[in-house]
């Protein structure tokens, strides 16, 4: 999915409500995907995405148009996701669930059913590993952009992606072998 025209960002930065609506339109599904896979809860993901866009709106005047928009957007989103996870952990401490992971909603491209193994496998990563893996492999971000999005150095990120890939491969092979 192509990065949005910087002109739309410029207009939104200047206060054009419709340009901002276009920004939301362009990135909403993608942000939702990332948030769902980070917080593993449809409700929390939607809330995180909404909070993220509101933060984007507030912070847009400070955004330097010479920079790329997407790493900046994902930095805000990743922060919201971390906050959501913290809230969920607190919530879980009060209410106990018989199952580990809560309900996941997957609508998208004709699929009405979630892949059980898929979500559980993602949950076996640490937050840092999952974040790095998703940004690199699912969002297709380069390490420099990921560094902007996470505030972490490139070599640390590379280690996290490698570690995440190893863990995931091992879990998936377990699953496939039944």
């Amino acid at each position: 999915m192509a990065e949005i025209d910087i002109e739309v960002v410029r207009l939104a930065q200047a206060g054009d409500g419709r340009a901002f609506a276009t920004l939301v339109d362009h990135y909403h599904a993608r942000c939702l995907r990332f948030a769902q896979q980070m917080v593993l809860s449809a409700e929390d993901a939607e809330e995180a995405v909404q909070d993220a866009f509101v933060r984007v709106y507030d912070a847009l005047p400070r955004f330097d148009l010479a920079l790329r928009f997407e790493p900046w957007l994902f930095r805000i989103l990743a922060n919201r996701c971390r906050t959501a996870r913290v809230r969920r952990k607190r919530h879980d401490a009060v209410v106990t669930y018989s199952d580990d992971a809560p309900e996941i909603a997957v609508g998208g491209e004709g699929e009405g059913v979630a892949d059980e193994e898929l979500w559980a496998v993602l949950g076996s990563l640490t937050v840092e590993q999952r974040e790095a893996f998703l940004l690199h492999h699912v969002e297709g971000m380069g390490y420099d952009d990921m560094s902007v999005a996470t505030g972490v150095g490139v070599s640390a990120l590379k280690m996290r992606v490698k570690r995440a890939t190893d863990v995931l491969r091992a879990r998936l092979l377990e699953v496939y072998r039944g």
Binding site: G17, V49, V106, E109, H137, K162, T165
Partner: protein, 195 residues
């Protein structure tokens, strides 16, 4: 380490393919976002300030937008500045028509006549009046059911119909009709020109 990360094997590739599927993005969720930011409009002075720092925007438009923003209750509905390629903007509030084509077409006085002796009221509705039954009522001066109204229309193809007694959708019996795939009620067609 680079190589291992950048050449994922089949297992990882399959996982990534599944993860890359987009979730459904509900209009309500997006609308909720917009509703929340509407309550956080930047101060009008701030909007004008940022406009003034956009070097690529023509000066005349800057002044025009700044005036509107400062004077007319800006609330996040700014006008879009003209750019090559961005042609049409429908203004809200104080009229600033930012159309690329400055030459407005000449309007043609067009008379609509329909015989509906049993009607208590007849309205003309069409794209030209936003399908508003209150905009163009017809009159029956003779009282014999010969309803008429005259409107100024630009030359070209126009879709219209009559609304009888406030509710009954009535295409013009004397004009060609066109099916309505959107809502299932046929419209009438008028080809308006100066001759």
């Amino acid at each position: 380490m680079d190589d291992l990360n950048d050449r994922p094997d089949e297992v990882i590739s399959a996982l990534v393919a599944r993860l890359q599927r987009m979730p459904a993005s509900e209009p309500r969720a997006r609308a909720a976002i917009l509703a929340r930011v509407r309550g956080r409009t930047p101060a009008p002075w701030k909007a004008a300030f940022y406009w003034l720092w956009q070097p690529s925007v023509p000066a005349a438009a800057l002044v025009a937008v700044a005036v509107v923003a400062l004077g007319a209750g800006y609330a996040g509905r700014a006008l879009v500045a003209p750019r090559p390629g961005l042609v049409a903007v429908e203004p809200e509030g104080p009229a600033l028509t930012l159309v690329a084509n400055p030459g407005a077409p000449r309007l043609v006085a067009t008379q609509f006549v329909v015989e509906l002796p049993a009607a208590a009221s007849v309205s003309l509705v069409g794209e030209f009046n936003g399908w508003d039954p209150a905009a163009t009522p017809l009159v029956d001066p003779s009282g014999r059911g010969a309803w008429e109204a005259s409107v100024l229309l630009p030359p070209g193809r126009h879709l219209y119909a009559y609304v009888v007694n406030g509710t009954v959708w009535t295409p013009d019996p004397r004009a060609p009709q066109v099916a309505d795939p959107d809502f299932g009620r046929a419209n009438s067609v008028a080809m308006v020109s100066e001759r």
